[in-house]
């Protein structure tokens, strides 16, 4: 089997071939490393490719398999990890100058779980600096391109992970989602991305952006692989007070079971104004698929969802302004070369170490928490947050899942939204409310535009109903072929060089 015919398959297909002895983990990782070598210069999904570590791990899996030893559920499968998760002994930068040379002496719990599952950690992916952004253009180091059209953004902030899967650099990837940072790039890159319920996956070792909103989640080509990866990373962690002590269902085992009498709510507000017509059409087509499957489809209203973005842009920056205070040039990370005194050292270090978007959010959050403004902004936003949560509670009394578009538009051109921060913030208009409410959400491919750009369908479920979410998503996926399409990188590269 040639390398090029290997890449682009799903993790479950790889696991099957590995188990049958049709190929070795070493051959598999080599195929992906060659693919990365060939195309990542164009896509720039990775900040770090750990070829040696990956090959070593793959060889270990092969040897253990040969000896008949028990292996983990991801044995030999390459996984790309967003550079926001700490990896012991391996540079973890959050795509920021301020952490350019930071080497954590610890693994994030999710990284530890991946290692214990015998996954092959192939590299660290690019992202918006400290996960702040919706295009991955806020990386201090490089701009990641959308594999479907290299002149467009992959979305963000987990754009590197989404692009890595879409570019067939790895069948699985890990991202983090604070306001849509998994679901939106999944939609823009034509892959599946899932944001678990707040508390479902340990945040230990996830470099914090907004602690009450952040969750780690999987990227994959399809729902079944997503279920597989979620099962590995979910679960209670004594190192995270906010991780919940609930058992983790075997998501993969039940994912093929359709949901009898499924009630689907379509968000009225999300299909009216501000949504791209091609996106709206694709989502309506998806609704029709559920109707055909016998689901009970109805319109629902989330009347306060339009306040999601303003509430989010108070709560998230407020928490971020505090979470990012630790980057001060004292205990680790970048320190300015010249300064006058202690305070000047802080101010210059942070001015030189952080990019523009990070500074903007730190400023916004500091202002929202400062004396005299706390009640008007921060406290008000927390009250609106409860109102938004109550909208969902009411909706889930009527329906089992909520569906709508993931992003109002398909992938936008690089640079298009950089000058106007607000226009970029509005990319997350349909995704932020799930973070504010703490519920589970998934984005999966539901079509392509005339220009060949992927469109994402968002499905939301009540807290800790990931099983329902995956089963509902799989019902749709079985009826469609969108998840089987792969970006043609050779053609994408040719298109760019022709235009250039």
């Amino acid at each position: 089997m040639s390398g090029e015919s290997l890449v682009g398959r799903t993790a479950l297909e790889h696991l099957d071939a590995l188990a049958k002895g049709e190929l070795s983990a070493r051959e598999l990782v080599q195929a992906y490393l060659e693919r990365i070598e060939r195309f990542d210069g164009h896509v720039q999904a990775f900040l770090l490719v750990d070829a040696d570590g990956a090959v070593k791990k793959a060889a270990e899996v092969d040897e253990r398999r040969a000896r008949g030893e028990p292996l983990g559920p991801l044995a030999g499968v390459p996984v790309a990890v967003k550079d926001v998760l700490c990896t012991e002994g391996q540079r973890t930068t959050c795509a920021s100058r301020i952490l350019e040379n930071f080497i954590p002496p610890y693994d994030a719990t999710v990284v530890r779980k991946l290692k214990e599952a015998d996954a092959v950690l192939i590299g660290k992916t690019n992202m918006d600096e400290f996960a702040m952004g919706s295009s991955t253009e806020n990386s201090a180091f490089q701009v990641t391109r959308n594999p479907w059209d290299l002149t467009r953004a992959p979305g963000g902030s987990s754009g590197g992970s989404a692009a890595a899967v879409a570019a067939c650099f790895a069948p699985l990837a890990i991202g983090s989602d604070t306001g849509g940072s998994i679901r939106q790039p999944a939609a823009l890159c034509g892959v599946v991305g899932l944001k678990p319920t707040y508390g479902r996956v340990s945040r230990y070792g996830l470099v914090a952006f907004a602690s009450s909103l952040d969750q780690i989640g999987p990227f994959a080509f399809d729902v079944r692989d997503t279920a597989l990866l979620l099962k590995v990373i979910a679960g209670h962690d004594p190192l995270d007070s906010t991780s919940v002590a609930r058992s983790v269902p075997d998501y993969l085992a039940c994912v093929e079971e359709p949901l009898e009498g499924l009630k689907v709510g379509v968000v009225r507000e999300w299909l009216s104004e501000g949504v791209d017509p091609e996106v709206a059409t694709a989502v309506r087509d998806a609704v029709a698929v559920y109707e055909k499957l016998g689901a009970d489809v109805c319109d629902i209203s989330l009347p306060h969802s339009k306040y999601g973005i303003p509430a989010y842009y108070i709560v998230a920056p407020a928490e971020a302004s505090s979470n990012l205070a630790r980057y001060d040039g004292v205990h680790y990370g970048y320190r300015a070369a010249r300064y006058e005194d202690m305070i000047d050292m802080y101010c210059r270090t942070r001015a030189e170490g952080f990019g523009a978007e990070v500074k903007r959010r730190i400023m916004l959050g500091t202002y929202a928490l400062s004396a005299g403004y706390y009640d008007a902004y921060y406290l008000k936003a927390l009250k609106v947050r409860r109102v938004i949560r109550e909208d969902f509670d009411r909706a889930f009394e009527q329906v089992d899942v909520i569906i709508g578009p993931t992003s109002p538009t398909p992938a936008f051109r690089l640079g298009e939204r950089l000058a106007d921060p607000l226009s970029m913030y509005l990319s997350d208009i349909y995704t932020v409310t799930a973070n504010l409410a703490g519920i589970a959400g998934i984005s999966l491919p539901c079509g392509f535009t005339q220009d060949g750009l992927p469109i994402g369908l968002q499905i939301l479920a009540p807290p800790f109903e990931e099983e329902r979410l995956l089963r509902a998503a799989r019902m749709y996926e079985r009826e469609t072929e969108w998840h089987r399409r792969r970006a043609d990188l050779q053609q994408a590269v040719a298109a760019v060089s022709k235009a250039g």
Partner: protein, 502 residues
């Protein structure tokens, strides 16, 4: 106060803000050791270093100790409590925020009763008690003009206790601290050592001056850098005088000038105004999203109350009265903690004279604990066994010398005193005929001592008698009845030399 007098035309008003470190094994949010005096930056981990992505998890023991202290301070316990971030930049604070409690502390509105000079008691109100993390230490190094940061203390559990301005003299402030220390030591909440910083105290002080038939409040001053109870008393006395002189000079009243912070200068015995911060502090408190709230159940409270039992001030009085031991001994026993006092009581109940128990506890037992670094819970000899041993001294079965030998063996092997005494033949020799024969034999063999006894006078003569007693003890391997030997030796020396003892 009806009219002002020449001597004190004002009332002193003092409120204290006390920080005490809790006696936990580990820090508040991570498993690093909570201990004073270790080499710098050796009790640190990614969590207390505030590295990216790490999260705090609350130490249950710390919360229990905090509850115990608050219940003992008669506080209202909040059923729902949460933690908040206090944001400020300082190099000893790795995250540049302190996890503390802002609007919903776990306890509030309590009091501590303190003894007054006239033999009565007075209640000092407690506004709030809350649980927070400590910062590290910043040291000023000579070399290169840089400051050094040690984070061993960063993240250790700290209780903040804020009193009402209920103390009206420097002595009362000191008494409050002494009573607080007694309470918290007894409850094993904190060792309250001001030198090591496990108890730290700032004071707010002003005066209510009688002026033209009205009471005028002077500006409140916060006093810091007081490193002992004595320093607190001295600083308060100094500050009261200084504020009165300033009032006479300027007439400034409360609210007319910004709040001043002054530091106590121990060497010069004065308070010195501290440089005002360049920026107004704005701590931007908000709920700590990485921790979840604590809901205190009735069951948790019951448990804490049952752990406390009798309060130390009561127990101190009871120990002195019930066992007839000196008040000083009772105080020290209670200050050494509840478990120590429990041990004492079990021990003393097995003795004829409980004073022997306090002597043994405060000398032999305490010396052993210090040498081995043990707590009383780790002490291997149970109180009944120790009572068995010491009661044998009371019954004149063995002497103190032999008892110490048995005590040492009991610590090593844990065996019963009776068995050790039998095996080593340590039973006291108290047969008068037998001992008299040994005295005679010794004097026969040492004629020089008789000459010395005759020649020397006063103290020196008595020393000769002591030397002879030593020889007898050696002959009997330390087992002789010391009082009997003394009488027999004195009688024999006087009889043989014809000179009196004195």
């Amino acid at each position: 106060m009806a009219t002002s007098t020449e001597a004190t035309p004002y009332t002193i008003v003092i409120g204290l803000e006390v920080h005490v470190q809790l006696l936990t094994e580990t820090k508040l949010f991570c498993g690093c050791r909570n201990r004073f005096g270790d080499p710098p930056n050796t009790n640190v981990c990614p969590i207390c270093l505030g590295m990216p992505g790490v999260l705090p998890v609350m130490n249950q023991k710390a919360f229990q100790l905090a509850l115990r202290a608050a219940v003992a301070l008669n506080c209202q316990i909040a059923r729902f409590t949460k933690w908040d971030r206090k944001n400020y930049y300082y190099p000893d604070l790795p995250k540049n925020y302190q996890i503390s409690q802002y609007d919903l502390p776990f306890s509030h509105d309590g009091y501590l009763e303190i003894p007054t000079a006239d033999g009565g008691t007075k209640r000092v109100g407690i506004i709030r008690v809350h649980l927070e993390e400590d910062a590290g230490k910043l040291l000023h190094a000579e070399r290169g003009g840089k400051s050094q940061v040690d984070l061993n203390r960063a993240g250790t559990p700290l209780l903040e206790i804020v009193t009402k301005p209920d103390m009206n003299s420097p002595a009362e402030a000191r008494t409050f601290l002494e009573e607080l220390r007694l309470l918290l030591r007894y409850l094993e909440v904190s060792d309250c050592n001001m030198q090591e910083g496990s108890l730290r105290c700032d004071a707010n002080i002003n005066l209510h001056v009688q002026h033209n038939g009205q009471t005028v409040a002077t500006p409140i001053v916060e006093v810091k850098n007081m490193n002992s109870f004595k320093a607190v008393e001295a600083a308060m006395a100094y500050e009261a005088r200084r504020q009165y002189e300033e009032w006479l000079r300027t007439g400034a009243k409360l609210g007319e000038v910004p709040k001043e912070t002054r530091g106590w200068d121990e060497n010069r015995a004065v308070t010195v105004s501290q440089r005002r911060k360049e920026e107004a502090s704005d701590y931007r408190y908000f709920p700590e999203p990485d921790l979840v709230p604590v809901v205190v159940s009735e069951q948790m409270l019951q448990e804490v109350r049952s752990q406390i039992g009798e309060f130390p001030a009561q127990r101190r009085l009871r120990l002195a009265a019930e066992y007839g031991i000196p008040e000083y001994d009772a105080r020290v026993i209670v200050e050494l903690g509840k478990a120590f006092a429990d041990y004492f009581e079990q021990f003393a109940r097995g003795l004829e004279n409980p004073k022997n128990a306090s002597n043994w506890m405060l000398q032999d037992v305490q010396r052993t604990l210090n040498a081995k670094g043990w707590t009383i819970e780790q002490f291997p000899v149970r109180p009944e066994k120790l009572a068995d041993l010491v009661s044998r001294i009371e019954r004149r079965e063995i002497n103190t010398h032999a008892a110490r030998e048995v005590f040492a063996e009991m610590i090593e092997s844990g065996r019963d005193p009776g068995a050790i005494i039998a095996e080593r033949g340590l039973t006291m020799v108290s047969d008068e005929q037998q001992l008299k024969a040994i005295v005679d034999q010794v004097l026969d063999e040492n004629p020089k001592v008789l000459e010395d006894f005759k020649k020397k006078k006063g103290k020196k003569r008595k020393q000769v008698a002591g030397f002879v007693r030593g020889l007898i003890m050696r002959q009997t391997k330390g087992r002789a009845d010391a009082a009997l030997v003394e009488r027999l030796v004195n009688e024999a020396l006087v009889a043989r030399t014809g000179v009196p003892l004195e």
